[in-house]
Symmetry: C2
Subunit: 185 residues, 2 copies
Amino acid sequence: MDTFAARGYNNASLAEIADRAGLTQAGVLHYFRSKSLLLTSVLELRDDSDIEQLGTERPRGLRFLHHLVETARRNAEREGIVRLYAVLSAESVTDDHPAQDYFRGRYAGLRAFVTDAIVETCGLGTGTADADRARHAANAVIAVMDGLQIQWLLDPAAVEMTASTELVIDAILAGLTRERPAASD
Amino acid sequence: MDTFAARGYNNASLAEIADRAGLTQAGVLHYFRSKSLLLTSVLELRDDSDIEQLGTERPRGLRFLHHLVETARRNAEREGIVRLYAVLSAESVTDDHPAQDYFRGRYAGLRAFVTDAIVETCGLGTGTADADRARHAANAVIAVMDGLQIQWLLDPAAVEMTASTELVIDAILAGLTRERPAASD
DNA sequence: GCACACCTACTAAACACTTAGTAAGTGGTC
DNA sequence: GACCACTTACTAAGTGTTTAGTAGGTGTGC
């Protein structure tokens, strides 16, 4: 994890990973048959432990959106994981990257969750106009968290991930509910 | 440009770049003394041509923020450049990356421009509370544009960069002006 | 005696970069 | 306008290093 985070996939070498793990490069390939399999294994392991920590019940609606702000706050204390995801998600858009499927799936899932939470929170209807607005808002919420991470990794003093995330989520929710004054609370 | 965009810096080879340019790898190094110098040259060239296209006068205030939305719209037609910046900006946070200084400077400049535009547009004061809000909002605006690009590159059908960018900017501006009802328009 | 966990030793390819050369100019002098 | 000194724009053929992956072995525990 640390090596992929510090160097990206392509520039990370099995030798360095093996050194840090206390065995030889061939020893690493004993457990993971190839470098790309090691990468996807690391990403899936990371996911599993995150889901475990979240508990069995995923919060819904506004509580889920608050949970995202809380994640941003926690991320400011976990540079390693932030770097891992920021570097690899962007690197995954390059040709034939082994984590491309992983990130495509991850974003698809995230978009669905956040869209649902926004629809619930703002009491949006099922019309295409409302659905589109919810989708665009959800994509923006995910995007702002990702984009802040890159700025923060380059210059931690210039960025407050929690404050900016909260500001955007609050503004979006206010905007979506204001435009539908008929919604019951 | 195309090669760095398609492969990232580390996985791009001088041989491929040379092939596409119609000369040998040594021929490329005749013009650029090293691979990292080639990368920084490409980025600076790109910048120069963007500045030329913008014209000498940079728009200010609300017009600048509208210009950002317009950029998002134009970017949906320029996958190559979007990919170049999305991939390299994230890759630049890895250890000893040659474009690290470039992107640190770029973001610092962008943050200053967007912060100014938001302060002007919302008629914010000079107090620290207002200044902080403007900074957080500016960072979020930049972040949302960057984050959308990664999602869009992975799955173009799932993301509308223009709509999401506009939604966030509008919501943020409404939020910041609503909280200061005393501001004269 | 067999499976597992690993290592040593290797291979073949790819890599950035170097060296030494060539061909085609360019500018100045007689 | 012929000759010389020098530069520019490359190429072919390396160098040394790093790379992922492989083959075959050794020790340990059951």
